[in-house]
């Protein structure tokens, strides 16, 4: 068992975290939090449909975590993530915005409203892709200090 303390300079984890930067770290946390929220959202819709959970908790919850999508776009820019990751994050934001509109088209364009479920799967896939890319960006070796 190691009892000695490693200095911040010598600790590989501390060095790696310093190299990552707060924006990249926040992006990682936010991206996986978004995935978790999508999963909860899907459980909520299941409870509404099958367990007759009253109210509109599925819809309301979307507005609880929806703000994460634009925040992720900003963080992706601040963290200077690769272009593909930033593009995927923007696509995720657009898909999420479209998702909130689709159910309201039920009356006029029911076929478009029916795409709400397909778009939900697309959001899930995009969220996973973004989160995995965020994880990869953390695993990349930190750049050496300029000094």
């Amino acid at each position: 068992m190691t009892t000695g303390r490693m200095s911040p300079q010598g600790d590989p984890m501390a060095r790696a975290l310093r190299g990552i930067g707060p924006a990249r770290l926040l992006f990682l946390v936010g991206a996986w939090l978004f995935v978790a929220c999508v999963v909860v959202q899907v459980v909520l819709v299941g409870l509404e449909i099958f367990a007759r959970l009253g109210g509109s908790i599925h819809r309301d919850f979307a507005y609880v975590y929806g703000w994460l999508a634009p925040v992720l776009v900003l963080l992706a820019g601040a963290a200077r993530l690769p272009t593909r990751t930033r593009t995927l994050t923007v696509v995720l934001l657009v898909a999420f915005a479209v998702q909130t509109v689709l159910p309201s088209l039920r009356g006029q364009f029911p076929l478009l409203a029916a795409l709400h479920t397909v778009n939900a799967v697309a959001i899930f896939a995009l969220a996973i892709l973004v989160a995995r890319r965020a994880t990869s960006s953390i695993r990349q070796p930190a750049e050496p200090d300029a000094t």
Binding site: V43, L111, A113, L115, H116, T117, V121, F124, A125
Partner: protein
């Protein structure tokens, strides 16, 4: 050798397309564009199709990762219609039907991606012999 992998890839991508179509049919039912008959009918078909994929990867002796993915897909797909069928007796259990749909989609996607990797990993010229290729059990 490559033919088996291409056939597997075709099946895997066809299944993924079927899952997306099934999700659309759920939207059709939810938003009153039609009833649930088609969604239910397609669902029972999609529930058993991954068993075919699993048999395929076992017979073709694909690698462990592909077998595990196909097995995971088979299990999640088999229980998917059962979850919906439990809505009268165990509604809380049935409530996981949409979540398991995401699991089925995700695994189908991974299997489809894996199938493409296997096709791409196949050498252009395969010599006769017992040399195991990447992605296949030795």
């Amino acid at each position: 050798m490559k033919g088996r992998r291409i056939a597997f890839a075709a099946l895997a991508w066809l299944y993924l397309a079927g899952v997306v179509f099934q999700v659309f049919l759920a939207g059709v039912g939810l938003f009153g564009l039609g009833d649930w008959t088609l969604h239910a009918g397609v669902g029972w078909g999609l529930g058993s199709a991954p068993l075919l994929l699993l048999v395929f990867v076992l017979v073709a002796r694909f690698d462990r990762r592909t077998i595990l993915l196909a097995a995971g897909l088979a299990v999640s797909a088999v229980i998917q219609p059962e979850l919906a069928a439990a809505r009268h007796t165990a509604p809380i259990v049935a409530a996981f039907h949409p979540l398991n749909a995401l699991v089925v989609f995700w695994l189908a996607w991974l299997v489809a991606q894996r199938s493409l990797e296997l096709v791409r990993a196949t050498p252009p010229v395969v010599e006769a012999g017992n040399v195991a290729e990447p992605g296949e059990a030795a």
